[in-house]
């Protein structure tokens, strides 16, 4: 397996993992925003 291949796989999967985390954290903020109702 060539280094370029490994790098491609690692970069793509790490990018997907970061996107996943960002999407879930972004959505989860909605709960905090709703809690402004009873500030």
């Amino acid at each position: 397996m060539r280094l370029r291949q490994v790098m491609t796989i690692v970069l793509a999967m790490a990018g997907a993992a970061l996107l996943d985390a960002a999407a879930l954290d972004w959505a989860g903020y909605t709960g905090f925003s709703i809690s402004m109702l009873w500030r």
């Binding site: 990018g15 996107l19 009873w38």
Partner: protein, 370 residues
């Protein structure tokens, strides 16, 4: 190949869905901006409550739509990539793999959005005094879907990475600089998204429900601020001194009728569901620091040996990562007692001066109503 017919349209449709998801994200961010602006403009803007409600509505709808469109975009693109690979480049790396790893989070966001909608609407009929606690519990319960999706996402990333690496070891697979570049772009997109959502990640827990939260701090503008001020949750009659009028629980009073009104109020206290028993404090007094004591004294004199309470507010700002310190206040108050044997209260010229003396007193402050 028949599959080639729909590969290109599928890619286009996927791009359109992705653009729609981006638009929904913008809608959500605008809703969040609207909520944030209302929180800090509340003192001057009487429509802040409406603005918060519409900002929340935009978020709940936007999150669900953004998740659903992203899910559609990812699925379509993954299918198109699978078909294209089988058609022309069977030895290429399975490029659909990182796309499939995005599925758990997309599904999680959609389910979370739907759960939020159901629980938010379900809170509408709840008793107002319990609504905040109920809604907070509902928000925390909905967030569990995101936690589950996070677990699923990590699992998918691990399994897919392992499968792709094993496949790459088995035989010669094609690779190119273009693929490495695209993978790099995906990584950069992920890193940027991750970086810009860190403050939102820090604020994933809803605000706590304060037992004596002040819904409208402007009502307390100018009231004395006390150094020692216990949180006030007891139900008490509210005697408020405005520049133009004095009110008891919102109804105008004057010193001549105040005593009778207070007597009637306490006689019906339990019947009116104001509390389980008549309170030992005559009233919570809201007055600005500058209010002359000679304006207050006639009201205090109707119960010359009773306890009263100086109303104030206690700041409990929430240090959020996304909005900075969020101003929050609780009702608080210090009790004082009228007693003929104590020094005369008239030595204090203003309500603020009396409140200062009450605040400095290590025990319950006493003064004679003269």
């Amino acid at each position: 190949m028949p599959s080639a017919i729909w590969v290109r349209p599928a890619r286009w449709l996927s791009a359109i869905l992705a653009a729609g998801s981006a638009a929904a994200i913008v809608l959500v961010e605008r809703g969040r901006g609207s909520v944030a602006a209302s929180v800090f403009a509340a003192a001057a803007d009487p429509e802040a409550g409406t603005s918060i409600a519409s900002g929340i509505e935009a978020q709940i709808t936007g999150v669900t739509v953004a998740g659903a469109l992203a899910l559609g975009a990812v699925l379509l693109l993954a299918l198109a990539e699978i078909a294209a690979r089988h058609q022309s480049r069977p030895n290429d790396q399975p490029w659909s793999a990182p796309l499939l790893a995005l599925l758990p989070s997309s599904i999680g966001v959609v389910v979370y959005g739907r759960a939020l909608r159901a629980r938010y609407e379900g809170a509408a009929g709840i008793d107002p005094s319990l609504k905040s606690a109920h809604l907070r519990e509902a928000l925390v319960a909905s967030h569990r879907w995101l936690d589950l999706a996070r677990f699923g996402s990590w699992l998918a990333i691990g399994v897919i990475t392992a499968l792709v690496l094993v496949r790459a070891r088995r035989g010669p697979v094609g690779d190119s600089g273009a693929r490495l570049f695209t993978a790099g772009l995906l990584f950069v997109a992920g890193a940027i998204s991750f970086a810009v959502t860190r403050s939102q990640a820090s604020d994933h827990t809803p605000l706590t429900v304060l037992p004596a939260v002040v819904e409208d701090p402007t009502t307390f503008e100018g009231v004395p601020r006390l150094k020692s001020c216990p949180v006030q949750t007891q139900s008490l009659p509210l005697l408020r001194f405005r520049p133009e009028a004095v009110t008891l629980d919102g109804i105008p009073v004057d010193p001549r009728t105040f005593g009778d009104q207070l007597t009637v109020l306490f006689a019906n206290w339990v019947t009116l569901n104001r509390g389980p028993s008549v309170p030992d404090t005559s009233a919570l007094i809201i007055a600005s620091r500058e209010t002359p004591l000679e304006r207050v004294l006639p009201y205090l004199s109707v119960r010359p040996d009773a306890s009263w309470m100086v109303a104030s507010i206690w700041p409990v700002p929430h240090p959020s990562a996304s909005m900075g310190p969020i101003p929050r206040y609780q009702h608080c108050g210090r009790r004082f007692k009228l007693s003929e044997s104590a020094p005369p209260i008239s030595q204090y010229k203003t309500w603020g001066a009396l409140a200062g003396a009450v605040d400095r007193s290590p025990s319950i402050f006493e003064a004679a109503p003269r």
